[in-house]
């Protein structure tokens, strides 16, 4: 039998239906891979093998009767930001120690209804605040990729670093992730995987631990563009319990795969050619442009004049919303409690002990920009800049169907390389954060290797609720980029 962990979701779906293997065999192969890899990679903070096998057995029963949903028997990893009923969910923060939700997030409920099997909960930056998965209470995730000729550990990106590393290291067929400023696309680019941030409102936020509610959106990380379409199909839905969930039909995303790009106009935003960008990133971008041109798309240079203001305005809006959202962690209703001489000092001691340095930094920035006398100068100003950024996109989408950019300004960096300087870390999201500010969909597709032998990604940005064009363009990039990227396995050997 072929190695079952090498399959794509679409391959596995066919194999299960053809009874070439069972869902239990598929789950077993992945549980063994997790067992061998997790000590080195640290992608899973909580493997759930018993639950996985039980779900796989039920999938086999349904498949045996010729029944089953669109993801029947497909083993997935779930980012620890998604509440899973009776399974510990902490957003990888000390302050949520031992929290076991009595309810299921809408996105994961949709996945289980489609027959998917949960392998476990995946590591992430604490409360999804980070670009390297170095802020998790459960320790760093290690990128399965290494620089050529080096065994220095690299970051898997963040905040969905457990998701990206698990998919790249073949520890699940696909994973859920969330993206507030680039947290799906940047880790996907760093690990040679596909990451899709859907339009704001496409997936319900209900039951997902909140970071910045006007920016947060759930999406998939997978090993192929088709798999991203399959997974998003199951994740997306209109949910009355999330007032910002879009009450519009979810199209058949997989039908877009393989549709050509002839006649599409692809915009190249000149402001993304930033100073100091590595020549190999520029070369990658030019290669992507050539691929789309060869496939029949029209290429057009466009301008998004407010691009450089996206990141600074994001670092007002996101911390402001975070400081408000994270006010609920007070040691009263769930998670950690540290005693104090009165109720206020109990709150203060609990939050001091429970939050990590990056989370505190953002809560304090958010508290500052929302405090009396500063609200207009910072928060209102940032919301106005957000309007300008959004208008830039509205303008260019009158003449183009999608935009092509690099996903990140550089390939994966080393553990500890950037954790000393918050601003330097924030600059990682320079190409991805605009999309969150405008609420648009974006996909990162692996497009080649850096001079260091590590993956690089190209990003396609689309109109609101037009993920279909992203799948069309993404598939062309995937086909042109050549064979699927795979890191050399050093981790099982060290287990």
């Amino acid at each position: 039998m072929t190695d079952l962990t090498e399959l794509t979701i679409s391959d596995a779906r066919e194999g299960l239906r053809a009874k070439s293997f069972t869902a239990v065999e598929l789950a077993d192969a992945h549980l063994a891979a997790i067992e061998a890899a997790n000590r080195a990679i640290n992608a899973y903070v909580l493997p759930t093998p018993e639950r996985a096998l039980e779900a796989a057995r039920r999938s086999d029963e349904r498949l045996g009767k010729g029944e089953g949903g669109s993801l029947e028997g497909i083993p997935l990893g779930i980012k620890d930001l998604f509440c899973t009923k009776d399974v510990r969910t902490t957003a990888c923060s000390h302050i949520l120690d031992g929290f076991t939700p009595p309810y299921e997030s809408t996105v994961t409920a949709n996945l289980w209804a489609a027959g998917a099997v949960m392998l476990g909960k995946l590591n992430n930056d604490e409360f999804a605040m980070g670009s390297s998965n170095e802020t998790s209470f459960y320790g760093d995730v290690i990128n399965p990729w290494r620089r050529e000729g080096s065994d220095a550990p690299l970051v898997p990106g963040g905040s969905s670093g457990g998701s990206s590393a698990a998919v790249a290291a073949r520890l699940c067929l696909g994973a859920t992730a969330t993206d507030t400023g680039g947290s799906i696309r940047q880790p996907a680019a760093f690990t040679g995987t596909v990451g899709l941030k859907p339009t704001y409102g496409r997936c319900s936020r209900w039951g997902i631990v909140a970071f910045a509610s006007s920016l947060d959106q759930a999406g998939p990380i997978t090993r192929s563009v088709r798999d991203a379409a399959i997974l998003l199909q199951a994740m997306a839905s209109h949910d009355p319990r999330d007032t910002t969930s879009a009450d519009i039909p979810v199209p058949d995303f997989e039908a877009s795969i393989g549709r050509d790009v002839k006649g599409l106009t692809i915009g190249i935003p000149k402001e993304y050619r930033v100073e100091g960008m590595a020549p190999e990133i520029e070369a990658l971008w030019q290669r992507g442009i050539a691929w789309l041109k060869d496939a029949g798309a029209e290429i057009k240079e466009v301008s998004l004049p407010h691009t450089k203001y996206a990141l600074p305005s994001y670092y007002i809006v996101a911390p402001a919303e975070a400081s408000s959202n994270l006010a609920r962690y007070d040691g009263v209703r769930y998670g950690l409690r540290e005693p104090g001489k009165d109720v206020i000092s109990m709150y203060e001691n609990t939050r001091e002990a429970g939050f990590g340095a990056e989370v505190k930094r953002r809560i304090l920035i958010g508290t500052y920009v929302l405090s009396a006398g500063y609200y207009d100068a910072y928060y209102l100003k940032a919301q106005k800049v957000r309007t300008l950024i959004s208008q830039d996109f509205d303008q260019v989408f009158q003449s183009v169907d999608a935009l092509l950019t690099p996903t990140t300004p550089a390939p994966a960096f080393g553990i500890g390389e950037k954790s000393g300087d918050p601003l330097e870390m924030y600059l990682n999201d320079i190409f991805t954060v605009t999309v969150n500010m405008a609420g648009l969909p974006g996909i990162s597709v692996p497009a080649g290797l850096s001079s260091e032998g590590t993956p690089l990604g190209l990003q396609v940005i689309g109109r609101a609720f037009d993920e279909e064009t992203l799948f069309r363009v993404g598939q062309v990039i995937e086909d042109a980029a050549g064979p699927r990227l795979k890191p050399a396995d050093w981790w099982s050997a060290s287990a």
Binding site: T100, P102, Y103, T199, G201, S214, P240, T243, T244, A246, D247, H306, Y309, P312, S313, Y315, I316, A327, D330, G331, V332, R333, Y334, G335, L336, R337, P339, G340, K341, D342, V343, I344, M346, Y347, E348, N349, R351, E352, A357, K360, R361, I363, L364, I365, T367, Y368, S371, L380, K381, A382, Q383, K384, V385, T387, L388, S390, P422, L423, G439, A464
Partner: protein, 95 residues
């Protein structure tokens, strides 16, 4: 420095985080650095720009004012660090 030590402690108290002196020293520099960097937004004239208050153009949905959930007190207090007879227990507030 746009933020001094006293301001750091004042914000931390507003945010209910009991930061240490060492943290305050580090945060003074970090918060100032971040706030100085976001100040580049002042280059933009936004006098006639509406703030973005919703992400997608849609009217706010309102649900019917009916009970949709309830009778789950056990679930609600299940994760509490200190609970007694379906109450959350906290340090004494009123003497």
């Amino acid at each position: 420095m746009s933020v001094d030590r006293a301001t750091v402690f004042r914000i931390a108290h507003l945010a209910r985080i009991a930061i240490t002196d060492e943290e305050a020293e580090r945060l003074e520099a970090e918060l100032s650095g971040i706030l100085d960097w976001v100040a580049q937004l002042d280059e933009l004239d936004t006098a006639n720009v509406e703030p973005m208050t919703r992400v997608e153009a849609m009217t706010m949905k309102k649900r019917k004012d009916v009970v949709a959930d309830g009778f789950c007190a056990d679930d609600i207090v299940k994760n509490a660090p200190h609970e007694d007879d379906h109450y959350f227990v906290v340090p004494k507030i009123v003497e």
